[in-house]
């Protein structure tokens, strides 16, 4: 059994009448990449701020590394690295000076700090930009600098609060690879995002949040098993008669169908050979069809089924 790095028990945070966190409990073990997944305003950042004692809370307990977290728990804070959504660096300092500054808030020894800063620079691949100022860097490079500033002091717990917002796909992949590497090197990671693909890709365990509540928690497979849907089939077909659609709807394991005039979507729950049976019905009625593809459930399906709404905002 691995040690618990983060333990949140029954946490409640209110802003007036608004309950931002509603009896939230989490237990994150050493070496995990723990995903906090939820739409904007679900309470992810509030959870992080409470965790870091940057916010007071109304009820509950927070323990980090087995010790109670408080605003003056500086020894605990020294073991944490925080990477926020916004790039928080000095425009007036060079890349190297920025990393050195933030590393220096944790590491006093100059020689050790130099080594750590050099390693962080190498880790994010900013060797060529050491003397550049942040304004001269592209968006992707800035994000990498932001990460370097957060992890240079080699924290045991790394908290990443939506670090890939507004980042191009190439830089996003590099960031995700970097997080996985940090985890392999021994860091426990808390990763908040509303990008389900990222969370699916890197997180070993995931908590889905909505309206300040934890609505589900587990590995991605455990989460997917929580829902009815196991397979979604999409068949391009024109002029599908209602009687045929009715026949498909009553097939074993099919619990829902949708048809928009050109595409039939069939939702199945468990079972095998569902696609064969559906295509069999179409052939039986001598109906021609185009592209056919089948999808396994995603975290968005999990979220959709549990909350009745999509995980990600339309604009994302």
């Amino acid at each position: 059994m691995k040690n618990s790095v983060v333990k949140i028990d029954n946490l409640v945070k209110r802003y007036g009448d608004l309950t931002a966190l509603d009896h939230l409990s989490l237990d994150i073990a050493e070496g995990e990449v723990f995903g906090l997944l939820g739409p904007n305003g679900s309470g992810k950042t509030t959870t992080i701020n409470c965790l870091l004692s940057l916010l007071t809370y109304d009820k509950g307990d927070i323990e980090l590394f087995g010790k109670k977290m408080s605003p003056t728990a500086y020894n605990i804070k020294k073991e944490i690295g925080v990477i926020m959504q916004n790039v928080a660096v000095f425009d007036e300092l060079t890349v190297y000076e920025n990393i050195d500054y933030f590393c220096g808030l944790y590491i006093n020894d100059k020689a050790q700090r130099k080594q750590y800063v050099d390693e962080a620079v190498k880790f994010v691949g900013l060797e060529e930009f050491l003397k550049s100022r942040p304004k001269k860097l592209s968006g992707g490079l800035l994000r990498r600098l932001n990460i370097a500033c957060g992890i240079a002091h080699k924290p045991k717990l790394i908290i990443l609060d939506e670090p890939t917002v507004a980042v191009d796909p190439q830089s996003r992949n590099k960031i995700l690879e970097g997080i996985e590497q940090l985890n392999r090197e021994g860091a426990t990671v808390i990763y908040t995002s509303h990008y389900m693909e990222e969370v699916e890709q890197i997180c070993t365990r995931i908590a889905i949040m909505d309206k300040g509540k934890k609505i589900a928690e587990g590995t991605k497979d455990e989460l997917k098993r929580m829902i009815r849907n196991t397979e979604t089939m999409n068949i391009e077909i024109i002029d599908l008669p209602d009687e045929v659609r009715s026949k498909i709807s009553v097939l074993p394991h099919v619990y829902n169908t949708e048809y928009d005039g050109s595409k039939l979507t069939v939702y199945c729950s468990g079972g095998k050979h569902n696609l064969t049976r559906v295509l069999g019905v179409l052939q039986e009625h001598e109906l021609g069809f185009g592209r056919v593809y089948s999808e396994l459930p995603t975290l968005n399906d999990v979220f959709l089924e549990i909350t009745g709404k999509a995980l990600r905002d339309k604009e994302d």
């Binding site: 950042t45 509030t46 701020n49 870091l52 004692s53 940057l54 916010l55 007071t56 605003p71 003056t72 500086y74 020894n75 804070k77 020294k78 944490i80 925080v82 926020m84 959504q85 916004n86 790039v87 928080a88 660096v89 000095f90 425009d91 007036e92 300092l93 000076e97 500054y101 933030f102 220096g104 808030l105 944790y106 500033c149 957060g150 609060d161």
Partner: protein, 396 residues
Amino acid sequence: MQVFNAFFKVLRSKLGLALIYIPVFIAMTIGLTFADNGGGVFEQERLNVCIFDEDATPLSSALCDFIGKRNDLVPLENDRDVIIDALYYGCVDYVLTIKSGYADKLSVGKTDELYESMRMHDTYSTVYMTQMLNEYANTVSAYIAGGNDAITAAGKAGEAMLKDAEVNTAKFDDNSGAVLTSTAALYFRFLVYALIGLTMSTLCPVLLAMSRKDIRYRTNCSGIRPNSYTLQILAGCVIYIIAIWAVFVAIGAVMNGGVFEGAQWIAVLNSFVFMLFTTMLTIFVSSFDPSINIINIITQVISIGMCFLSGVFIDQSMLGEGVLSAARFLPAYWYIRVNRMLEGSEPFDQNTLVLSIAIELGFAVVLAFMTLLIRRVRYGGMTVHKAQTSAACITE
């Protein structure tokens, strides 16, 4: 000392402005010092005058002699192109032709059409020259009418017109009790503008950078204690302002002609207290998190406005009572009061001096309290936890 070091690294990027400010200020002070050294006496401008005497009589020669006493006579070839070139290139200011028959006309009291003149521009001097020639002709004519012969009349007219009226510039103050040299006094007077401008334009952006929301958030997440963070920034501020002040005082000593002595140190103390005020003003303004453009506007408004109202740019003796009444609410007014005592423009009064410096200090203290109050309101309290709360809320 990580924050302290970062403070100076950020400051280094803002010092370009300071390096411009200091030489400009010194040049301005020196320029104004020399501009004020006219000795308070007016002297008539001498023109380069070329005279073509077509009359060639003793009377016209007398006129030439008269003009030559107040101006420099320049010989030129009597050729239109040569004359135009000389006028164009400024070799000559006024070309006078004494027309033939000048003596005859003047002897019978006719004063019109005696001369012809050419000039490039109608400056005050050339217009004055024309007026003087007319006046000369009228005066000679008057003397002739009085029974003098033409030569005697010309001599008397010239003598009368060459008498100078003594003109002195009015001095509003008696500088007999001056402690500082006039150059040093002027330097310390204009120092108000330089101190406000330089401190605000360099220190404000540094303070803003060090307390930017995202940076503050990240710092609050780290292992550094908030008190340590604040103290390191304050230490940076103190060292920076003392360095600036020391540079200005050193230049002041040069302006004074050597190391300060005796009561001259009051000027140094006065400038230090005013520097404290400008520092607190800078910290106060930066508490509102203004943009750099807003800082520039505020700096200009405060520095220029305060300097005009308080008697930096215009001497207090020339300001109206209403303006001075309003200026009493500005620390620069009290700074200038002390400076005026040191330059001898005001009687030296120890009580007024102490009171003035105390009031300047009072302004600094009031600003310090207001800054604390504003930070308390803006960041929700002075406790560590609440200050951090506010920083965290920013990202919500």
